[in-house]
């Protein structure tokens, strides 16, 4: 491992100090749970000269907001959020996405802010050597003609097809969460849809954050329909695997018609994929399998596949239909 230095920040003024330290030094990175960062350091994918440990900053906890939403501190661990009664009651799809992610050990370590910042699992990005536009702009994309079973089919570009790996970001996108940050001289807020950038011509640019800008919290609205929501994750093994396809869905049906719906897809997009086309197709229409199917097809119409991931649009269609059928059938929260 490369020799690096390490500094820990703590206390109330530690936030300013941490932001100041990283802002002033292009070779410093924040260190939160470290569950991605340390791997990538070891694999020489990330190359900071200094890690600024933020784990003791007062940024933990799930708080009520005056508008009924929840504010999740950036350093709250995934397992804490999953166990929070307010999250379980009002946002079952968030709780479910969390417990289906990673492993128990990782969920105890990994922070919510870090989850938003986690890096892609693309093997060509992670091997530190293959051509990768995300790691080295202009180098090319080895995944395009490579082993790409797990890669994205929505939001791809000719420069990058890496799948966004987060589970919990999928329901957060469906809920229009807001990412709050601090810079050296300001506080900012980003609508989550603007937080995850499509790869386009600049796959190295994954977020709008400036260097040294620190996520402090995630504000999550809790609309009533989210009480009846689910997260359905399809993968090869039962646990400890990223999604091949996942669906976060909340559905409200009145008199047999869809009165409200939120849908986002995971495992298929270069970003957590808000399924607005599907939502638009559904609202006001009948809550039937046929209309679910049409909505899913509308969402996936522009999917672009490789020979190895050609099964994904169809699997995503089926998973979305299943999720909506399940919500219609019994309001299951699983």
């Amino acid at each position: 491992m490369r020799p690096i230095s390490y500094v820990r920040t703590e206390g109330a003024d530690g936030i300013d100090r941490a932001v100041g330290l990283v802002t002033a030094d292009p070779d410093s990175h924040f260190l939160a749970g470290g569950t991605t960062e340390v791997d990538l350091l070891r694999q020489h994918v990330l190359a900071p000269n200094r890690l600024v440990d933020i784990n003791r900053l007062p940024l933990s906890g799930v708080e009520e907001l005056p508008d009924g939403g929840l504010r999740i501190g950036a350093l709250t661990r995934m397992s804490e959020v999953a166990a929070a009664p307010a999250v379980q009651e009002r946002l079952p799809m968030v709780a479910r996405a969390l417990v289906l992610g990673a492993s128990a050990q990782l969920r105890h370590m990994a922070s919510m802010g870090g989850n938003m910042m986690q890096k892609v699992r693309c093997g060509y990005y992670r091997d530190g050597e293959s051509p990768c536009n995300k790691r080295e702009p202009g180098a090319g994309c080895a995944a395009l003609g490579g082993v790409s079973r797990t890669h994205a089919v929505l939001g791809t570009s000719e420069h990058c097809i890496a799948t966004h790996p987060s589970d919990v970001a999928v329901p957060l996108v469906a809920l229009d969460a807001v990412i709050r940050t601090r810079t050296a001289d300001s506080e900012r807020a980003y609508a989550i849809d603007e937080f995850f950038l499509p790869p386009g011509d600049t796959p190295d640019r994954e977020h709008p954050l400036t260097h040294g800008e620190l996520i402090t919290a995630i504000d999550v609205p809790t609309p009533p329909l989210a009480r009846r929501s689910l997260y359905l994750k399809v993968r090869d093994r039962e646990s400890y695997e990223f999604a091949l396809v996942s669906v976060a869905a909340a559905l409200e049906v009145r008199d047999g018609k869809v009165s409200g719906v939120r849908i986002a897809l995971g495992g298929v997009g270069t970003r957590p994929w808000r399924a607005r086309r599907a939502e638009d197709a559904l609202v006001g229409g009948p809550a039937t399998t046929a209309s679910f199917d049409l909505a899913a097809r509308a969402e996936l119409a522009e999917a672009r596949t490789t020979p190895m991931n050609a099964f994904k649009p169809e699997l995503a269609r089926r998973t979305l239909v299943r999720a909506l059928e399940t919500l219609t059938r019994d309001g299951s929260q699983s």
């Binding site: 699992r121 399809v234 099964f311």
Partner: protein, 758 residues
């Protein structure tokens, strides 16, 4: 988890004794090869080639050499030459056993991606790892072949595979004619992904020299295999090399052969004049200790209207390395399981830019039986027979290959018992439905050869004057429970309680045994331990009956029993004395005996096989493409069971491995670069606990008086054989589709059609 134990027994053998080394392992005091603390220890990190074929054009090690703590950067330019490349022999032969007949860092040629091209030695692991990234190597790359599809046109038929032990072509009768005359034929092609072992402990060696004597701590299935191989490579007499390997953290074949790291560690230790620890990274485990090769098998069955086999043709195509004609012997057991007069088995190989493939748990049997038992299920459908009945109809008491009778069998009983345990009568009905899941049942026969060592094996038993015994043989514990089991065997033979026996292994200074591979460890080591302990007991009894001071003086040794360390007259148990009393009275600090055992001659009028049967209950969600195994029921006839608990654990582990092979495990080759694309435990999937179903392990007792003195046929691998086809056949029952590839994954199920059958 349910298990029926074998018949209860009086003596220590067979009892479900807890592992004698369990405490050391769970408290971390058991030391593995990369944990040995040594004064002045240094750390070595390997650098792998980034191209799959070509030449090294330049090496710039200057920056690495300047890095803090670096002691040496070794490459082909300065490592020095090996003395000789030993031939590839299976480690069961007890001699040299290199993983491939190529040794790295001897020249500038690159044969496969990841080939070791440099070794960086530093004072700490982190510094060595850092410096390993600073070695700049340039290559002239040439086109490579790494997958079947790139080399299909260049396939050749080798004279022999598997180190020359298995002929490339085997024939009996006239397959062509028999297939032409068959009432029914099934002709199918099966494909298999490459697999890697991924034991939890990565391969590692710690080496140090004292003058011209070398000590190596190695992760290995056989310390003697490491000793002989490193001796040959270094040109050092093997008597000057001591190899220690008390514990190996899983192997599954990845440490059955001796790969390059122990010899490289020894060479590096000589260069830097200090002890060197060399541990492979997880990624390096994908190029540093072999793999189960990608393969394609075509299998053609011919049968009469009643389902009796008349012909079996089985062809295999697979990539091997540039050096060795290696294919796992997939055609062996599949050609011996059922009576069939006409047979043809042919291996074809493609020279590819990979390491030599190697043994991986159930090497060949698991893949060959997948082809055979999936095709048998289809044949059953074609002749309208219950799949179980088809197997019984083709049952044989003799090995179809040699014509000799099986030394023991049990297949019929295993099939019947397994069927009972899974509730096979449900198979006749359409699949049950449970919500979105369709429930299917499938079965397959299981079999694994009984291998024995080529040469006599030895052990030593010593009884001390305090009445405790130490029994020794050089076998390594690879996680199977061998230390526990051999303690039981020794205690039984000596007539001692197990608490007063200690078994020691894992050191070439101890009596020689071959590597514990091929499910043969328990059989061959128990034979020699039993021989040594029995010899010692006879010596002790003889001493007592000849001792005027003994209450047993003058007795016929045949009338003396030993119970709890006390020698007594069988008909007058009140008369006798303890071993300890005998030794103390005679001022004897200890008594010792050695024992040896050699396998039956090759022309013995028997053939040997371990049989079993596998049954699976599988839930399939055909819409989402999910397959989850709900229950596995296996029944096995492994001969004498030495420890009901460790035997059950091994069989259960094998069954779960079979599930893993069926549904998860695949290493994807990247043909453009010739590199394995998913060389990590994040992307190479093995089952997690949540994937493990209810596993029912059942024993069928058979007595085998041929294979070895205790009649032990082995449990390490037969648990895996037949699981994958049982699962595939259950998927067929559930959704009506036959899948002929491993692993069977979501896209295979989803590709089947639009929606679930209603």
């Amino acid at each position: 988890m349910t298990t029926t134990a074998p018949t209860p027994v009086d003596g220590p053998i067979g009892r479900p004794l807890d592992r004698v080394e369990g405490h050391a392992k769970v408290t971390g005091t058991a030391r593995y090869a990369a944990e040995v603390p040594l004064p002045g220890l240094t750390h070595a990190v390997l650098v792998g080639a980034r191209v799959a074929r070509g030449r090294i054009t330049s090496i710039d090690a200057a920056e690495a050499e300047r890095a803090e703590g670096v002691l040496a950067v070794l490459t082909h330019e300065n490592l020095g030459k090996i003395a000789a490349q030993p031939p590839l022999l299976p480690s069961l032969a007890g001699s040299v056993a290199p993983g491939e007949t190529f040794f790295p860092m001897q020249g500038d040629e690159i044969h496969y991606a990841g080939q070791h091209v440099a070794l960086v030695v530093a004072d700490t692991y982190e510094r060595a790892l850092h410096a390993s990234r600073l070695v700049r190597i340039s290559y002239a790359e040439e086109p490579s072949v790494t997958v079947i599809d790139q080399g299909r046109d260049q396939a050749y038929e080798p004279e022999a595979i598997f180190a020359g032990f298995v002929p490339g072509r085997t024939e009996r009768g006239d397959v062509e004619a028999a297939l032409g005359a068959a009432d029914v034929t099934v002709d199918r092609t099966f494909t298999f992904a490459a697999n890697h072992h991924n034991p939890i402990e990565t391969s590692a060696a710690t080496a140090y020299w004292e003058g011209d004597r070398l000590t190596l701590h190695d992760t290995t299935q056989g310390v003697t295999a490491t000793q002989h191989t490193v001796a040959a490579l270094l040109g050092v007499p093997h008597t000057r090399i001591r190899v220690i390997g008390h514990f190996t953290g899983g192997s599954f074949g990845g440490k059955a052969m001796v790969w390059h790291h122990p010899a490289l560690a020894a060479l590096a230790a000589r260069k830097v004049g200090r002890p060197v620890r060399l541990a492979l990274t997880r990624e390096q485990m994908f190029v540093g200790c072999g793999h189960r090769e990608e393969q394609e098998q075509r299998l053609t069955l011919g049968a009469d209207k009643e389902g009796r086999l008349v012909a079996l043709r089985h062809h295999k195509l697979s990539p091997t390395s540039p050096f060795d004609h290696w294919a796992e012997p997939s055609l062996g057991v599949a050609g011996q399981l059922y009576a069939c007069p006409n047979y043809e088995g042919v291996y074809r190989l493609i020279r590819a830019n990979t390491t030599t493939p190697t043994f991986m748990r159930c090497p060949g049997e698991a893949t060959g039986l997948f082809a055979l038992e999936t095709a048998m299920d289809e044949l059953a459908e074609r002749v309208d027979l219950d799949p179980l009945e088809l197997r019984l109809r083709n049952y044989t008491e003799n090995d179809p290959a040699s014509g000799r009778p099986w030394s023991s069998n049990g297949l019929r009983e295993c099939l019947e018992r397994g069927a009972e345990r899974i509730g096979w009568e449900r198979r006749a009905a359409p699949p049950a439905r449970d919500g979105d899941w369709l429930i299917g049942l499938g079965m397959a026969a299981s079999a694994y050869p009984v291998y024995g060592p080529n040469n006599p094996q030895r052990a030593r038993a010593r009884l001390y004057a305090d009445g405790t015994a130490v029994v020794q043989a050089a076998v390594t514990d690879i996680g199977t429970g061998v230390l526990t089991v051999m303690t039981q065997v020794a205690a039984e033979a000596l007539g001692l309680p197990v608490e007063r026996c200690r078994f020691e292994g894992g050191d070439t200074d101890l009596p020689n045994v071959a590597a514990a591979v091929g499910s043969s460890g328990a059989g061959m080591v128990s034979a020699t331990v039993h021989a040594a302990a029995s010899a010692l007991r006879e010596q002790l009894v003889a001493r007592a009956v000849g001792d005027e001071g003994s209450p047993l003086h003058g007795a016929d040794p045949a009338d003396v029993d030993v119970r709890d360390g006390r020698m007594v007259l069988r008909d007058a148990p009140g008369t006798g004395e303890d071993y300890a009393e005998l030794l103390q009275r005679n001022f004897l600090p200890d008594m010792e005996a050695t024992g040896s055992w050699g396998p039956p001659p090759q022309d013995a009028p028997f053939a040997s096989m371990t049989f079993g049967a596998q049954f699976a209950e599988v839930a399939v969600d055909p819409v989402l493409g999910l397959v989850r195994v709900r229950r596995l029921a296996g029944a096995f006839a492994p001969g004498r069971v030495l420890n009901a608990k460790t035997a059950r654990s091994q069989l259960m582990g094998g069954m779960i491995w079979g599930l893993s092979q069926a549904l998860l495990e695949a290493t994807h080759m990247e043909p453009r670069t010739g590199r394995w694309a998913n060389a990590s435990l994040g992307e190479y999937l093995v089952p997690v606990n949540a994937d493990a179903p209810d596993v029912d392990v059942d024993f069928i007792e058979v007595q085998d008086t041929v294979v070895n003195p205790l009649g032990v046929k082995g449990v390490g691998e037969v648990g895996q054989a037949g699981v994958a086809p049982a699962i595939a056949n259950a998927i067929h029952h559930a959704i009506g589709r036959r899948l002929r590839k491993l692993p069977i994954t979501i896209e295979d199920i989803v590709a089947g059609g639009d929606e679930a059958p209603q």
